[in-house]
């Protein structure tokens, strides 16, 4: 959920919204914000499932340290979404296990 009006910071300044594809659905994100922030704005909190047990994981540290938030971005697996800025037209998918590289079969 976006915070549109903040008592200290004031109203949200006008921003450039760009499309971001998440598991095939288009959402609108602020260009340059971390991918994880764009997902949280839509209440999307599941980033990946673990390799062996398929347990859900989402943002934990928010500083690029724990790797719980990794997803597959434009075909590249294990991208830390909390420190990777959104660019228009990015394709993000929920990652299963360690993910798959484009030329990996």
């Amino acid at each position: 959920m976006r915070i549109t009006n903040h008592p200290l910071l004031g109203p949200q300044p006008p921003v450039n919204l760009v499309p971001l594809e998440v598991d095939g659905q288009v959402i609108w994100a602020k260009e340059g914000e971390p991918i994880a922030a764009a997902l949280l704005a839509y209440g999307i909190r599941l980033c990946r499932t673990t390799k062996r047990r398929g347990e859900p994981r989402g943002v934990f540290c928010g500083i690029g340290h724990c790797t719980d938030c990794v997803m597959t971005v434009d075909g590249i697996p294990n991208v830390r979404t909390c420190v990777t800025p959104v660019r228009a037209g990015m394709k993000v998918t929920t990652q299963r296990g360690l993910g798959q590289w484009p030329n990996d079969h």
């Binding site: 200290l8 989402g58 540290c61 340290h65 420190v83």
Partner: protein, 366 residues
């Protein structure tokens, strides 16, 4: 791998300590490269929307993110070169290995200042890995910097300053805070912060802990319980709360991997968050020309990180041959000592002196 050699100082980490170190060294004539992993430097200052405490010299009354803006523009004016979105993955002597986007290269400098900060501690309980359980600092970044709520109904775990401040800022941003849980019988954070959330009607449960978080794919509820003097849960005191988010504010640990890798000597100091690299009053580690500043040198506050950064910047500049008046060292040391006052500050000052002593012992032996 491409190589680059810098006649000057490389600073790793663009938070308060790193920015101040870079600025101070550049103002004394050093060529400085500042490496930061994020899209923009500023570190944890960027999410700090409350006003700083203390005296004028320590920028009391100024909000953290403004301090970051000022430091960044001062750095630019002083000629600091900023390498953003760059991850340092190794340090040997004064050579850093870096990954910038998809390019790996190494950077050899005359001196290195590590200002990598700290990471939030986790807490182990069933369900602690569910999406929705996150560091309080992480939640604070999303709320104050990116302006998104990580959830709507939040339980805060930890009644220190981080827990209390972030609980209040979550309220300000429109989230519901169902309560603050603290394992100790009292809150260790400042009274002013506690008073704000008490006034807002947020329940505070001291001598309590989290037993379990549950949910399908993400947090839907959490069970807390009272604990006895030995931190064991008291049967029958369990209480289940409907929340979608559990924030953990249970301390920080210095992020010191690069210092370990480079071979710096360490010691364990619980009061400063764990293992810290031994360092002199001038912030030099046991390796020549490798300095530390800020939370990596022991978890304290943004204000102390700024002063340690200034000292490291002066010392590194002097070490590579820039003229630095001795009076500037003394003034920075004095400002730093004046920040370590009060019950917590006194302990930190004591522990820091111990670290400096151990550093000197190492130097004598080698």
């Amino acid at each position: 791998m491409a190589q680059r050699s810098l006649k000057g100082i490389a600073v790793v980490g663009g938070g308060p300590a790193g920015l101040m170190a870079a600025l101070t060294a550049a103002r004394h004539g050093a060529a400085v490269v500042l490496v930061d992993e994020n899209a923009e430097p500023g570190g944890q200052l960027r999410k700090q929307i409350h006003k700083f405490f203390g005296s004028k010299a320590h920028r009391a009354g100024v909000r953290g993110y403004r301090i970051a803006q000022e430091l960044i523009s001062d750095c630019t004016a002083a000629g600091v070169e900023l390498l953003g979105q760059s991850v340092v993955f190794s340090l040997r002597e004064c050579t850093l290995d870096l990954l910038q986007k998809d390019d790996a290269f190494n950077l050899k400098a005359d001196a290195i200042i590590l200002a990598t900060g700290a990471s939030e501690n986790a807490l182990a309980f069933p369900g602690c890995t569910l999406p929705g359980v996150m560091g309080a600092g992480a939640a604070q970044t999303f709320v104050n910097l990116h302006r998104v709520l990580p959830g709507r109904r939040v339980l805060m775990v930890g009644g220190g300053n981080v827990g209390l401040i972030v609980a209040y800022q979550l309220l300000q941003a429109g989230a519901e805070v169902v309560g603050v849980v603290e394992a100790l019988p009292y809150l260790s954070g400042y009274q002013v912060h506690a008073a704000k959330i008490k006034r807002a009607g947020v329940p505070i449960w001291t001598s309590h802990t989290v037993l379990e978080a549950r949910g399908d794919q993400e947090v839907q509820e959490v069970t807390i319980a009272a604990i006895d003097d030995h931190f064991h849960p008291l049967p029958g005191s369990e209480r289940t709360l409907a929340v979608d988010t559990v924030c953990l504010a249970v301390g920080l640990t210095p992020l010191a991997e690069l210092a370990w890798q480079a071979g710096c000597r360490f010691c364990y100091q619980g009061a400063l968050g764990g293992y810290v690299p031994l360092h002199s009053d001038n912030m030099e580690t046991t390796l020549p020309h490798v300095y530390v500043a800020g939370d990596i040198a022991g978890v304290e506050e943004a204000s102390t990180a700024l002063e340690e950064g200034a000292i490291a910047g002066l010392a590194a500049a002097a070490a590579i041959g820039c003229p630095v008046p001795i009076a500037e060292f003394d003034a920075a040391q004095e400002r730093l000592v004046s920040l370590r006052k009060g019950p917590f500050g006194d302990i930190r000052q004591l522990v820091k002196s111990e670290i400096v002593k151990r550093w000197a012992d190492c130097r004598v032996v080698e």
